[in-house]
Symmetry: C2
DNA sequence: CTGTATATCGTACGCCGTACGGACTAAACA
DNA sequence: TGTTTAGTCCGTACGGCGTACGATATACAG
């Protein structure tokens, strides 16, 4: 697993083939099948290791909105630790492994603070969706150049069809990912809490 | 493109190989390279066609929150029309093609109703992230059995470690996707609007 | 008619996942 | 002790993949 993850981080998920991984380990390709029934199993194991980075949601102070926000932040952070594996989270048949524990604990925390089960489920589900979708958009964007080049790309759109994007190019390109993430996260949770608006 | 999309819808994205697509078309594999420089181009073209399904955001009544919500719904609906291509949206280097027009128009609509540019950008970005992430979780879940079997799967978790998920299994399995999507979408937008709480 | 562009194709290379069966090793048991 | 068993490793082979390269055929411009 170490080698597989190192390989994936360094050269991308596509570089992780049974044959290539075996070569890295100075071993025959078929040997790997003693440990994984098929390549899918290997990939699932990789996802599991990464999602272990979620860690327990041990924040106990603050109200439940803060709990929930923290879960969202952890989820994003865990995925961003291995950006090249991000697509796994997004394509995965289901959140499993560590993520399951986090969801369970988060729902428990919310309920213990008086949130009804249904709302807790809905809110956790929504935050999960937001975090995954956000990172899915964030990762490729990050790979594709700095702020200046992103701004240039937006500004060079045909101005007669994209007046708003062109006008706001500088603003849009300058958004820090962290702020942008917080913005949506805060809004989403505020919506569930019926609290104050974001931004 | 028609054949490629039909093939992808019927047998999944993996079935769309240059060789297979050529066979479907009664043509040599290499012939396809007259029209697409590489397989990536073909995939991008497929994504473009699908995202054309977004259509223009032509809802002009209602306030801007309703506009924004409609964009989210359209986005989800467009992706769900070709569920087996969903991962493309999520892995894509950037929203392009039709999606770009939708974003532009949506930002324009929001601004024309008095929303500051920055908020408009942030809100549209957040809704996009939410919609993509939601569908990413929704598609595999849908493939994996009906309500009853999902409930069973949840209920059979070890009760000492997952008390909440077990207890709420019935509730969780029974959530209709549409309701769940609306729940998060409403919350998110309400957060930006500073309006009333969801659910 | 001649040249040039366009579409199609056959062949070949180096990847991939993995089915199958064999060889070696170490532990469990007689 | 010898024998069996389970686990590990491997070589070979099959069918698939993307696509570089060069040849051919067809159509159209001059």
């Amino acid at each position: 697993m170490d080698t597989a993850l190192r390989l994936a981080d360094a050269e991308g998920l596509d570089a992780v083939s049974m044959r290539r991984l075996a070569r890295e380990l100075d071993v025959s390709p078929m040997s790997l099948y003693s440990y994984f029934e098929a390549k899918n199993d290997l990939v699932r194991a990789m996802l599991d290791v990464v999602s272990r980075g979620l860690g327990p949601a041990d924040v106990t102070d603050g109200d439940w909105s803060e709990h929930l926000a923290e879960m969202g932040r952890r989820m994003r952070a865990a995925i961003l630790e291995h950006p090249r594996l991000a697509q796994l989270f997004v394509t995965a048949p289901a959140l499993g492994g560590r993520a399951m524990y986090v969801v369970e604990d988060m729902i428990g925390a919310l309920r213990s603070k008086g949130v009804p089960g249904e709302t807790a489920l809905r809110a956790v589900y929504a935050v999960t969706a937001y975090a995954i979708g956000f990172v899915a958009q964030e990762v490729p964007r990050r790979d594709r150049g700095d702020t200046a080049s992103r701004q240039e790309a937006l500004a060079s759109l045909p101005g007669d069809r994209f007046p708003n994007l062109v006008e706001l190019a500088e603003l849009a390109a300058g958004f820090a990912s962290d702020e942008q993430f917080e913005s949506g996260l805060t809004a989403l949770i505020a919506g569930y809490a019926g609290g104050s608006p974001a931004q």
